[in-house]
Amino acid sequence: MAKLQRGESECELEKGVRVSVEMSDSSEDEGPEEVAFEESRSAALKSEEEKLQAAKREKELLKEKRRKRQQFFQEQKKKRLLSDTLLEEFDTVPQKQKKLSDDRDEEKDNKQQKLTKSKKKKASRSLQGNCSVMRLKDESADSSMQQSAMDFIQARLYGSGTLRTTNAELLSLEKKRGVKKGAAVQFVNKKWGAEQKAKAEKSNKRFIHRQKLVTT
């Protein structure tokens, strides 16, 4: 756009220059050129016509685009819908099913009047949607609520964010600050340090393997 601007301005400049050059060529001697009224009128009309035509062309282009889009959408819609033949088939079948179930219900009602048992009615109707039947005894919502309550209290007291240490640490600190100083419990009592020893052994093995100290 900058170029266009420059271009335009250059043209204008050039025109200005030309005019001024023309002017300068014949400036002292002659008067300005006479342009006939007819010529200028025809030039103005032409430019207006061109403008109108350009606008028309644009409109037509837009129309075309819109038409094409509309057609495309209609075709898409047609693809999504099932074919008419299938729709006709479907129309007939559900009606048949309804009729069948009605018949069955009538029969059952008759039976009920004879047997006076209401359990079968429930069994015949199929459940719609994703439902299943469970006994209240087998699963109680209470256990999950109890579990979530226990998780809440566990998280508040021992979860992340609570600063907790181990019993080994506590007892070792007591020994360190006690009247009779002693070593940490991991070193005194074999059972305490078992986990840490196992960890230390594993990390030693890993180190040796990585450093390839032991040639296999």
Binding site: D142, Q146, L157, Y158, G161, T162, L163, R164, N167, N189
Partner: protein, 685 residues
């Protein structure tokens, strides 16, 4: 005196469960303790905090709170049911579902008419306490958070509920929330977590005191609904609050194991205006303190380190006596170990199973105090899991080692054990008399021919055991018609006498040849913690919770001369100052004048031929006696021979081959299995 080979047994992995709630009943001075295993224990404050009753828990129990209404005890738990306990028979009377989801707290009003329960779904439910049951009355306005703590105003017209991030004051008649007090969250990282109000207390002048998870104790005014003062007590949570009867002292239990006391005092001496001031800090726990009680004369606390600590407030106690002692009750006041003397077997009672071990053997001889080489290691013969969810109430093994019996609140089981050298087989006895549905205490006769099971109303059922059929013989009942349960049974060696002690402080002696009541020991105002019948003289030896010792002659129906002399002389003050009760008494068949008894920190042999110690003589004189030459020893020795070598004793018994069994449970082993404590940064560590 005697040389004994001692089996030091440390393979009883007794693990107590954490204390979750405490409740005080002022009329009878009893404290109810709820543990995380679901068991409820009743301690008697007036009787040296003797553990009178134990109601066993169950699997998957989650008791959260306890409340007394008069003489009735109620509990609420995360399983959503309110249970009432039958304290006479030591079991749950009934449970009622509150339909509010898990329940966090239960509180009774001062008038004793209503119970309020705080639920997970945000409702406070009011129940009316009727005769023999409780009835749902109404819900107060449902809130959006869970209700974690409740407190009634002493007038009963208002309730304050501690929730997440706020405290609400309800009017109990209309059920609507009157005030909403917003609790600010902690600083720093804890700003993003909700502040949980773990405890609230409502005082009669309208002051509300709350303890929350940011470690602050806040004092609010309920008339205006504003905060008066906030005290930062700890960096961790304040988990429990309790106010004294006269509303001048409040104690708060924290997550770092400290108990902080606030008192209502005037800051400047002589001035009238009082305010709540933090006064004392007690550091008696290593882990979180989940429950506290302010008794006025003492502060009782319990938490995750499973200890029940009583810290007396010496400025409130007038006389010097046994109440001035700091008590830490770690072990139960009953024996969980029973021993088959003739077979060398030990039966360990765990909450959900039983273990039978055979003791090891050693041939060597050594000097006093030396460790002998073990020829054969102790081996576990039997691991018996119980069916069902209830925990074991009591268990026993017969002296010959052939019968094992245990009882829960719902069932009674008897097993026959066949033990060859290597093979152990066990068969369940299926056809038991219907009378044996559950028992509070079980005892076998010394020749293993009879089984005694203590049942409701202090009665004892006698069942004869044989190879094939087990017949119910009869039921022995006391004359007094007491409804309390029997907690101790003792059978004599010759099979003629049976003694039973119940929670009403009665000791009955039954004649087993005639199968009827023989006599009743005169009532003493302290409960019996251990008793046994002497094999030859048939004297009943009893030790009480206040450390008094009595000997009662069964055949003559009166106290023996030795016992009268002990009473006249008075026991040595160091004996009376011991803070753990004696849980087992046994005798030495070779030395009829010796009585062996033990408590948690010592075991002692009482020699009835030697003179009694007087208050100026040295009581723990074993080491001095050893240093003296033989001739001088008789001059200085006295009847009580104490040995403190074995610590945290759970059981001491003398076997047939004159070797002692000492079952120890070091506290360090228990501490190893506790949950994580808070991390405290101490100087120079």
């Amino acid at each position: 005196m005697g040389e004994f080979k001692v089996h030091r047994v440390r393979f009883f992995d007794y693990m107590p469960s954490a204390i979750r709630a405490l409740a005080f009943q002022p009329q009878r001075e009893k404290i109810a303790v709820a543990r995380t295993s679901g068991s409820v224990e009743i301690f008697n404050c007036a009787d040296r905090f003797f553990q009178e009753k134990i109601i066993p828990g169950r699997e998957q129990a989650a008791t959260e709170a306890l409340a007394w209404v008069g003489d009735r005890l109620f509990s609420a738990g995360l399983n959503g049911v309110i249970s009432e306990y039958d304290l006479e028979n030591q079991k749950v009377k009934y449970t009622i579902d509150a339909f509010g989801g898990p329940m966090w707290t239960i509180a009774s009003n001062q008038q004793g008419t209503h119970l309020a329960v705080g639920c997970e779904d945000g409702t406070v439910k009011l129940f009316e306490v009727c005769e023999g049951k409780i009835q749902f009355e109404k819900n107060l306005a449902k809130q959006k958070g869970r209700i974690l703590s409740l407190s009634w105003h002493p007038s009963g017209s208002r309730i304050v509920a501690g929730m997440m991030d706020m405290i609400r004051v309800f009017n109990t008649e209309t059920g609507q929330s009157v005030h909403r007090l917003l609790v600010e969250r902690g600083i720093g990282a804890s700003r993003s977590v909700e502040c949980v109000v773990w405890g609230v207390v409502y005082l009669s002048d309208g002051t509300i005191i709350s303890g929350d998870s940011s470690g602050k104790v806040k004092i609010w005014d309920d008339l205006t609904g504003t905060l008066i003062k906030s005290h930062q007590v700890t960096k961790w949570d304040v988990l429990a609050l309790s106010v004294s009867q006269d509303e001048t002292s409040v104690v708060a239990g924290t997550s770092e194991g400290t108990v902080v006391q606030f008192q209502f005092l005037s800051v400047v001496l002589g001035q009238e205006d009082k305010e709540w001031v933090q006064t004392r800090i007690f550091k008696n726990h290593t882990h979180d303190v989940r429950a506290v009680l302010e008794l006025g004369t003492a502060v009782v606390s319990g938490g995750m380190d499973t200890q029940f600590v009583v810290r007396p407030l010496l400025d409130k106690i007038e006389e010097r006596g046994p109440e001035c002692v700091l008590r830490k009750i770690q072990f139960p006041h009953r024996s969980l170990v029973s021993c088959a003397k003739k077979a060398g077997l030990l039966l360990f009672q765990y909450p959900g199973h039983l273990e039978l071990w055979r003791l090891g053997e050693s041939d060597g001889h050594g000097a006093s105090g030396s460790v002998l080489p073990v020829k054969r290691k102790p081996e576990k013969l039997l691991h018996l899991k119980i069916k069902g969810e209830e925990h074991i109430c009591c268990s026993a093994v017969s002296p010959c080692g052939e019968w094992i019996a245990y009882s829960t609140v719902a069932s009674f089981r008897l097993y026959r054990l066949h033990c060859d050298n290597n093979n152990v087989s066990i068969t369940k006895v299926s056809k038991l008399p219907k009378v044996l549905s559950s028992a509070n205490q079980i005892c076998f006769s010394s020749d293993s021919s009879k089984l005694f099971a203590a049942s409701t109303c202090s009665s004892v059922h006698v069942v004869s055991l044989s190879q094939t059929v087990h017949k119910f013989v009869c039921t022995l009942k006391p004359k007094s018609g007491s409804v309390q349960a029997v907690h101790l049974l003792a059978a004599s060696e010759d099979g003629k006498w049976l003694a039973s002690a119940n929670s009403d402080r009665e000791v009955q002696i039954y004649n087993l040849t005639k199968m009827k009541l023989h006599s009743t020991v005169p009532v003493y105002n302290s409960g019996v913690t251990a008793m046994a019948i002497h094999p030859t003289t048939n004297n009943l030896f009893m030790v009480h919770a206040d450390q008094q010792v009595f000997e009662y002659s069964i055949e003559e129906k009166k106290y023996t001369d030795w016992s009268r002399q002990v009473q006249r002389n008075g026991l040595h003050y160091l004996w009376l100052a011991r803070d753990t009760p004696v849980t087992n008494v046994t005798f030495n068949p070779k030395n009829p004048t010796h009585i062996i008894l033990h408590d948690a920190y010592m075991f002692c042999i009482i020699d009835q031929t030697l003179p009694l110690p007087d208050s100026c003589s040295q009581f723990y004189n074993q080491l001095t006696l050893r240093s003296l030459p033989e001739k001088d020893r008789t001059k200085h020795s006295h009847a009580f021979k104490m040995c403190k070598t074995f610590k945290e004793l759970m059981f001491v018994e003398l076997m047939e081959d004159q070797s002692l069994v000492a079952v120890e449970r070091p506290l360090v082993e228990i501490a190893a299995q506790l949950p994580a404590p808070v991390r405290q940064k101490k100087f120079a560590t």
